[in-house]
Symmetry: C2
């Protein structure tokens, strides 16, 4: 199928990658200098220490990382490919779950409450599913640009940390298609059971992905075209939010399998484009562990979760809060009158 | 050296293991039945689901697990073996860090504040270090019984979860000696760098442990004697707290390398004695990962931490809070009007 990138916003999106802001290395040095005086053996907080360094690198102009404003942002979309029988749940569940988020009844609501995180749930044209990408591109250039723009605008100024999540029956199929297109190999290597496919369903899902990848094979050298043809609105919005966070100095915690597909698109455009992100957890869905390895990401948590809706990212945010609390709140050896020298 | 178990409280301690309370399987079934109706695909919260089942099994008579009263309890002790040069820090640091805990300046204070956990720090005869166990038993039978009793009394009634931690310069040497005595093999296999030994220090530490294990070799078939001879007061108190928690229906989150040594003693007495415990994390200290494997424990977190002072256990408690919040707070499919059937 011919390329149809007619929307100037997609061109503008591409142009940002030529001048991505880099890490604040001076802030990282500040963190290391303070850490060396805190009342603990050096290195003894392990990943909690390196997380604070990472926050310092990517939080816009903070000398000491802070987490006063943490937002969990969940994008929702509906998918034409659901007609191919790739999910045991009907597409209405996406609408119902968005209502459940609003009513406070979902897992993500409880996790946000536990750790005092703000939650924003944003549906993208839920009444208008994407095209079935086994037959056509999932989104027109305009649709894709709309969704990216929507995602970019969802990142408010002054945020200290952004946790990204998604909801969309059918979107593990879209994510698996993106991985297959980006990384190659058989679709079965990347696809998982989603909300609960049996073996026959999983085989059908892989076949659907193979068909889609074959249909769009002339565009697989372009990550943004992969996103437009095989993705979904929530995945495009995630890509936009990831870029906006980078431009605005906001570190990002990725949720699992589907969010990482948006990150993989950015990574394919520019290898440094997701340096401001960490993987909140490794999902039990499909080949998420392998994907993270390809992206050079070490997940913070490994709890066998595969729910989506930002649940893994928000859980990780709890741990990150503790890391920042240690760095900011601990006494130095001098303050506490603790010996910091060997005998 | 001859056995000297003269304190009747040690005999009483042993007798508890003949009649340990078992898990509440009906409560586990209740949890599973409710979980099946919550608005998520089955199993999609992974370890968060099995943690709630574990809490149900061991929380005394709760039909729905709750976490209203979580206590982090840190026991501190001083060690005669420090004279052998097994730590780069002097023993006074134990006193200084206990003061730091009281003043709110340590890592554990910040983690407890982050997750709303109560913290209790209990020093055990800090002005009177244990004997140097390369020369004699670390504790007399009376000392050991005092410490165990102290630990048992530290577990208040009505607790929903207990996180156990420790502080004690020299106590990774005691813990490594316990592992060597319980599991065999060279001390170097079990010992780690503690607060920051260099290679020569680590070799010295292993040699010190080998000497101690040889001295006490006639008693290594008895886990309680291993605790008395090679342990320390805080480790004995931890053993007491672990048993008291089991008797009182309180699930326990183990911290790292040293706390696990107390758990290993109980496990050696009775293979089911720590079923009410989970490993909050795997520590980077020594062979903690291997120890957890021997004990059949899958750590919740893997963050390369090695601080002690309950930091890993308290961090895990944050995740456990989120797990319980999901189980208690999520809507069912019926409540939320979400389709729970495949098409």
């Amino acid at each position: 199928m011919p390329r149809a990138e007619t929307d100037p916003r997609l061109t503008a999106f591409r142009q940002h990658f030529a001048a991505l802001p880099g890490p604040d290395l001076a802030a990282v040095e500040n963190v290391r200098a303070r850490d060396a005086h805190l009342t603990k053996p050096r290195g003894s907080l392990g990943r909690l220490e390196t997380i604070v360094e990472w926050l310092a690198a990517w939080q816009n102009g903070q000398s000491k990382p802070r987490l006063d404003h943490v937002l969990v942002c969940v994008f929702a979309g509906t998918h034409g490919v659901v007609r191919q029988g790739v999910s045991p749940y009907p597409s209405e569940v996406t609408h119902q779950m968005v209502a459940n988020f609003s009513a406070g009844g979902a897992a993500i609501n409880q996790i946000c409450k536990t750790f005092g995180l703000d939650l924003k749930v944003l549906g993208l044209a839920l009444e208008r599913p994407t095209e079935d990408f086994t037959l056509a591109a999932a989104m027109s250039a305009e649709d894709c640009a709309d969704a990216i723009e929507f995602g970019m605008r969802a990142v408010p100024a002054g945020l200290d940390l952004l946790c990204l999540g998604e909801m969309g029956i059918g979107n593990t199929t879209a994510a698996a298609a993106i991985y297959t297109a980006l990384f190659g190999g058989p679709a079965a290597q990347w696809a998982g059971r989603g909300t609960g496919l049996d073996d026959a369903g999983l085989a059908r899902k892989a076949a659907v992905i193979e068909k889609a990848v074959a249909l769009h094979s002339d565009s697989l050298d372009d990550p943004l075209e992969i996103l437009r043809r095989l993705g979904g609105r929530e995945i495009a919005a995630l890509a936009g939010a990831l870029l906006a966070a980078r431009l605005n100095g906001v570190p990002v915690v990725l949720d699992g399998y589907v969010v990482t597909a948006a990150a993989a698109v950015l990574h394919a455009i520019d290898r440094s484009a997701i340096d401001h992100c960490i993987a909140g957890h490794v999902s039990a869905e499909g080949a998420h562990a392998l994907v993270l390895q390809r992206l050079g990401q070490e997940p913070l948590l490994q709890l066998g979760m595969r729910l989506g809706e930002a649940s893994g990212a928000a859980l990780a945010a709890g741990t990150i809060k503790a890391a920042v609390a240690c760095h900011r709140g601990m006494a130095t050896f001098a303050e506490a009158g603790v010996s910091d020298k060997a005998e």
